[in-house]
């Protein structure tokens, strides 16, 4: 246990990193998943294969990429393949053990919306869209999801089914002919959730240190289901926290040049 005080964000990233194994082949979403995957690689999972959708396979960046295609990812990769090959041979081919996704909107069954807030044809907010996520969600053997809790983000009903999780729950995936497991883990800034074996509803199985059940419910738009036995998430170790903070510091230094979008360089 660390004497250093950690933030909820840091706890989320570190708890997510612990879920990855040394022999995993992980398709990495940008943002929070990218930080967690690289902390795992820099601590307990040095041989993990990290794959970004730009085609970089077995990448080991020294700083977190701003986009999924920064040069750092290619420079440190075992190999880089074209994007059609990435999606056809590597993802569709069933070679990914964990697809690690973030979400703008999430429901209790792990369905994700990153497309629109409001009506599709006349949206209140037009979000970027699915990118690789719809097929990552379908073809990876398991899906991990990480996001900060909020009433806007964790909702009773998502506005658009960008990526299919467990649908209406139960055996909905099997009924659609989807053979992969779908979402098996949700890591938020407050808790760790796993789907109920029968209903597939995300259920809190571990609460982070200093967080109460009320905190978890207050920032979640559906009525939260808690497991019969709930653990307390072990706090970050000194090594985990230092690894994450060093990574963030290197990243910040690398991305913050002087903005110079004008024509005179």
């Amino acid at each position: 246990m660390s004497d250093m005080v950690h933030t909820p964000d840091e706890m989320m990233t570190i708890a997510a990193s612990r879920a990855l194994k040394n022999d995993d082949v992980c398709f990495v979403g940008i943002g929070a998943p990218s930080a967690a995957c690289n902390v795992a690689r820099l601590t307990h999972a040095p041989d993990i294969t990290l794959i970004y959708e730009s085609g970089t396979i077995g990448t080991a960046p020294d700083v977190l990429p701003l986009s999924i295609g920064d040069g750092e990812l290619c420079d440190t990769a075992v190999t880089t393949v074209a994007v059609p090959e990435m999606f056809r041979y590597w993802l569709q081919g069933g070679r990914i053990t964990i697809g690690f996704l973030g979400a703008a909107q999430l429901d209790r069954f792990g369905n994700i919306n990153t497309t629109v807030i409001g009506d599709y044809a006349n949206p209140k907010t037009r979000l970027p869209g699915g990118g690789g996520a719809p097929e990552i969600a379908g073809s990876s053997r398991e899906i991990f999801i990480t996001m900060k809790q909020s009433l806007r983000g964790m909702v009773e009903k998502i506005d658009f089914f960008t990526s299919f999780g467990h649908g209406e729950g139960g055996d909905h995936r099997q009924r659609l002919g989807i053979e992969t497991q779908g979402p098996t883990l949700l890591i938020t800034d407050l808790a760790i959730w796993r789907p109920d074996p029968e209903t597939k509803e995300f259920t809190v199985v571990s609460i982070h240190p200093g967080v109460t059940r009320e905190d978890v419910q207050a920032t979640c738009g559906w009525t939260v289901k808690f497991a019969d036995r709930i653990e307390e998430t072990p706090p970050p170790t000194d090594l985990e926290l230092k690894t994450l903070r060093d990574l963030k510091a290197r990243t910040k230094a690398a991305h913050q040049g002087q903005p110079d979008p004008g024509k005179a360089a």
Binding site: G55, G69, C74, V83, R88, T125, G130, A265
Partner: protein
């Protein structure tokens, strides 16, 4: 053998009002200089295709040149949303924008089908995904051998594709190294193509599998050093991440956007790109 032309001539000859055009690049080697030339020439009613429309498509849309966009992820990666595209979709400014939206897997497969001369792409995808309900070009087909139901989308066949590459030799053979995206597929799928390059050399000096496009598959080569900026050219200059972060604010306001476009695009030239990457070269 490919034709060698100044960029302004290549855009004038190859891009027409109403065309279906792809300016491809997957974070790496995005053909910014070519898109800026299209903006200076004021092309209209374009259908623009790209997996990851980012800043240049935000700019084309904001300048009122686009009627329809076919895409799979429209964001400023790692920064946020595309604010000019949002303004067009949410408020119809400066004009309404039709969207045909796919997933990355669908677009990558559709480009590959285009390059392969097939009418459609077949893949395992879109299961449970709502895009299949709002996009009539997402359909399904049963495997004649196993009966498995697979997704099908039409091939992408642009009138013209623009890409940026590191090198061409004097015949026009094109080398790309690093993240490859779908540029090879885009050029082979398109009727016409324009490739801007960092340099033109006597010998590509590449290993036996590295030449991406032989000269006879390429329409026109244009020498535009720095032509991918603020995207990057692997081995030449790094991605200008600070620029991507700064774009978010520029694009958030219509007036700020228009005055930035006047200063940095309408009143600029392809030769300005070389100066923009000066200090990014040392980090490559």
């Amino acid at each position: 053998m490919a034709k060698f032309q100044p960029l302004a001539d290549a855009v004038l000859e190859n891009l027409n009002d109403g065309d279906v055009v792809a300016f491809e690049g997957f974070t790496h080697l995005i053909p910014h200089a070519a898109a800026h030339e299209a903006i200076r020439q004021g092309k209209k009613d374009l259908t623009i295709i790209r997996m990851t429309p980012d800043l240049i498509y935000d700019q084309l849309i904001g300048m009122g040149m686009v009627k329809r966009m076919i895409f799979s992820y429209a964001g400023n990666p790692g920064v946020g949303l595309l604010r000019r595209m949002r303004d067009a979709v949410e408020n119809g400014w400066p004009q309404a924008l039709e969207l045909e939206e796919h997933s990355h897997a669908a677009m990558a497969n559709a480009y590959e089908a285009g390059a392969a001369g097939l009418p459609c792409a077949v893949f395992r995808g879109y299961r449970g995904a709502e895009l299949a309900k709002v996009n009539s070009n997402v359909r399904s087909v049963a495997c004649p051998f196993t009966g498995e139901v697979l997704a099908a989308v039409p091939a992408v066949r642009p009138d013209v594709a623009f890409i940026h590459a590191q090198k061409a030799d004097r015949k026009g053979n094109v080398l790309i190294e690093g993240i490859l995206g779908v540029q090879k597929e885009a050029v082979l799928a398109a009727t016409r193509s324009v490739v801007t390059v960092e340099e033109i050399v006597d010998d590509l000096n590449a290993h036996p599998n590295a030449c991406l496009l032989p000269d006879w598959t390429v329409g026109t080569i244009c020498l535009v050093p720095g032509g991918a900026h603020p995207s990057y050219a692997h081995g030449y200059y790094v991605r200008d991440n600070a620029y991507y972060i700064a774009w978010d604010k520029i694009a958030s306001d219509r007036e700020a956007f228009l005055s930035w476009m006047k200063e940095n695009v309408l009143d600029a030239t392809p030769e300005d790109f070389g100066g923009r990457v000066g200090k990014l070269r040392s980090a490559a």
